[in-house]
């Protein structure tokens, strides 16, 4: 029976050395940025802010020269946990830097890297993920959007037709990495899919924002109507889509974004408790939340350390995501149930407005990047149960 392997790890000195610089930068850039905005966490979109991060060399820093400086994954860990703890508006570059860039480094062609990576590292080129479809959520292998080989005006390429949904910030992105059907699914259901780099300004691409229940327009429906994608935009080999997607999701699942999404609200709760006489039930709740947060961070750093050493702790990553999301969702619950804080909109205090946002947004935390049920299925498989 494989035990889950988590070990307390220190972030190395070269990683800790970055913390002060990032903190000073954020203190200046975000001075006066209210808690209720910080509560938006990695959904806050600010292209100017992303460009400043790029200029500081904090995007793509782990990538080899000339795109990055070959920093360790643990140096990047410090940068992103500081950004998230500060509630910095990182959404513009977030997916490009976290997922798309690493994917292209691993599977892309030299030409694709040369064309794309400098823009991501500069905080200027943004990506969205084309996985989910109207009839394919957790069951990703059932996708139907397809790419068919073709020749147009002597140029070989692919014609793409279909629809992707829940595509975060597609309306502000330059590219999508789309998982498309290029052949038959086969017995494993995982065959016959390929990923493509799609320029969203191509003719035949239509992006329609889908207003979410908070009233924000973050995710979208993206329709492809006979969109021509040059052969040079295929990622890796034909039929390698599933394997790439699986590798990509492991990067996504254990980072500090999986337990710091509601950190601004936690900070406001501490501020609230500061004004109460010591020893209250609210103090106990803050202490309990801290214990969970500190433990999750240790677990997350343990996974990051193993990733940095070239291991693939995908089971442990799933555990961090599942438990991290549960923790994040417990914060608004405690705010309401124990502390009696009311979620309020414009006229509320920063605490009330932060709660209003997180209370509504947090239902999506256990859906994005793999639902809780899927995560627990992955863990159960790791335990040898399926």
């Amino acid at each position: 029976m494989p035990a889950l392997a988590f070990t307390p790890c220190d972030l190395p000195p070269e990683a800790e050395a970055l913390r002060g610089d990032v903190r000073a930068f954020l203190a200046e850039e975000l001075s006066g940025y209210p808690a209720s905005e910080r509560a938006r966490s990695w959904v806050g979109f600010d292209a100017a802010f992303s460009r400043k991060l790029g200029a500081r060399g904090w995007l793509g820093m782990t990538w080899p020269e000339p795109w990055g400086r070959g920093a360790s994954a643990l140096e990047r860990y410090v940068v992103i946990e500081e950004l998230l703890a500060a509630g910095a508006p990182v959404a513009a570059h977030w997916i490009a830097e976290r997922q798309s860039g690493p994917l292209l480094l691993r599977f892309g062609t030299p030409e694709q890297r040369e064309r794309i990576l400098p823009g991501i590292a500069a905080g200027q080129t943004y990506f969205c993920i084309g996985m989910s479809e109207p009839d394919s959520g957790s069951d990703l292998a059932s996708i139907r959007s397809k790419a068919v080989k073709t020749v147009v005006d002597g140029e070989t390429g692919w014609v793409v037709n279909g629809r992707k949904v829940w595509t975060t910030y597609a309306q502000k992105s330059h590219y999508m990495i789309a998982l498309l059907r290029t052949g038959v699914a086969g017995e494993s259901r995982h065959e016959g899919t390929t990923q493509f780099l799609i320029d969203l300004s191509s003719p035949g691409v239509e992006v329609r924002p889908i207003r979410n229940m908070i009233g924000d327009e973050e995710f979208n429906e993206v329709t492809f109507d006979d969109v021509f994608v040059p052969a040079s935009m295929m990622i890796g080999g034909e039929g390698e889509g599933w394997q790439q997607v699986t590798a990509e999701l492991a990067f996504e699942r254990s980072g500090p974004d999986r337990f710091l999404s509601a950190f601004a609200l936690l900070g406001e709760l501490v501020r609230f408790v500061e004004g109460l006489p010591p020893g209250s039930a609210a103090h106990g709740q803050v202490g309990r939340l801290y214990a969970h947060l500190a433990t999750l961070r240790q677990m997350s750093i343990s996974v990051a350390t193993r990733l940095d050493a070239g291991e693939e702790p995908s089971l442990e990553a799933s555990v961090v995501k599942d438990m991290g999301v549960t923790f994040e969702q417990s914060i608004p619950e405690i705010a309401q149930q124990i502390l009696g804080v009311a979620p309020r909109l414009a006229a509320g205090s920063e605490l009330e407005k932060s709660l209003a946002y997180v209370q509504q947004a947090c239902v999506s935390f256990s859906l994005r990047g793999g639902t809780t049920e899927i995560m627990r299925g992955v863990i159960a498989r790791g335990l040898g149960l399926r």
Partner: protein
């Protein structure tokens, strides 16, 4: 892990596995001192892991002790090993000679000490109080780290048990003579060893559940093939992992810094919560057989519920920790967390 630490871990695991069968549990819980087990623990020096080498101990640190406590917790060992390890460390920290034999510590309750070293106090639940050659209690003193070390001989006691059916003694200690010294927080050290034991027991409970879910067949297949069971065991696996790293981190912090109040509080809160969740899931998965006396599961779950409450329940530590966080202020929350590593 260092070679020596691996060796300690293997010795502890082997020793508990060899000695703890259902009959040993039944006898121990009926009041028979498990002499064979304890003698082998002592012969291997496991109870002296934190005692300096010049006093005949192993001279190890808390990360070494963790491996022993984890193994003891995994087996629900009905012996005062955690108590002896914790008390020996406090006594050594106080600069006193560590006495031979079984040692224990009061569950957070302090005693008054006169200038002549005469103690007065009522201790309601001393773990293994009648088996110990010395008891350590916090001394009421302007130095919060001051401890009193005394022999229970001459005190008036009454035997009770926690629901793990391990002995907990009520004691009136009026007029006994004690040695004192600046040993540290009895409550914190007690909480730390309980956290380590709980991490071990929760890990073992997970193993028992995974094995059972793979063997027990209902509706024509092992129950572990059902998603409802898989989802519960995935949750349990997460709790086990969190408990393990929380307890381990506290041991590591204490070795490194001496001041590990925050990490110990975190460990007691997190392992206590894991204990409650793990026990509930494990009994649900095991069904009626897990509720029988003959099954091993309850040797662990009854102790988890007991350990959870001892040396400060989660609510006690969470309030201490919350008070500290509120006093530092919201602006220090993240900087302090990251500075502790």
């Amino acid at each position: 892990m260092t070679d020596e630490r691996s060796m300690i871990a293997e010795t502890a695991a082997r020793l508990f596995a060899a000695h703890l069968d259902t009959a040993t549990f039944a006898a121990a819980e009926a009041g028979t001192w498990p002499a064979a087990l304890w003698d082998e623990i002592a012969a291997n020096g496991l109870d002296r892991v934190l005692v300096p080498e010049d006093q005949g101990g192993i001279g190890g640190g808390w990360e070494d002790a963790f491996e022993i406590l984890l193994a003891a917790g995994r087996h629900g060992a009905p012996v005062p090993l955690a108590e002896t390890i914790a008390a020996s460390w406090l006594i050594a920290q106080a600069g006193l000679d560590v006495p031979d034999g079984v040692l224990t510590l009061a569950d957070g309750e302090p005693v008054a000490v006169s200038s002549a070293g005469i103690i007065t106090g009522a201790l309601s639940r001393v773990p293994w109080g009648a088996s110990a050659s010395r008891i350590v209690a916090q001394a009421m003193d302007e130095n919060p780290d001051r401890i009193a070390v005394f022999s229970p001989v001459g005190g008036k006691g009454a035997l009770d048990h926690n629901i793990g059916r391990d002995p907990r003694h009520a004691m009136l200690v009026d007029g006994l003579t004690a040695q004192t010294g600046p040993g540290g927080s009895v409550m914190a050290v007690g909480a730390l060893v309980r956290a380590c034991q709980m991490a071990g027991a929760v890990g073992r409970v997970l193993d028992l559940c995974v094995t059972y879910a793979g063997e027990r067949v209902q509706f024509g297949r092992p129950i572990g093939r059902f998603q409802a069971i898989q989802q519960q065991l995935a949750l349990l696996a997460g709790e086990a992992a969190a408990a393990d790293i929380a307890a381990r981190s506290a041991c590591r912090a204490l070795d490194r810094r001496g001041d590990a109040f925050v990490e110990i509080a975190t460990a007691k809160i997190r392992t206590g919560e894991a204990a409650g969740k793990a026990a509930a899931i494990a009994h649900q998965v095991h069904g009626a057989i897990g509720f029988t006396d003959e099954h091993h599961l309850h040797h662990l779950t009854r102790r988890l519920w007991s350990w959870r409450a001892e040396f400060g329940a989660e609510s006690v530590w969470a309030t201490h920790l919350g008070n500290l966080i509120a006093a530092q202020g919201a602006g220090r929350l993240w900087p302090d967390l990251t500075a502790r590593g």
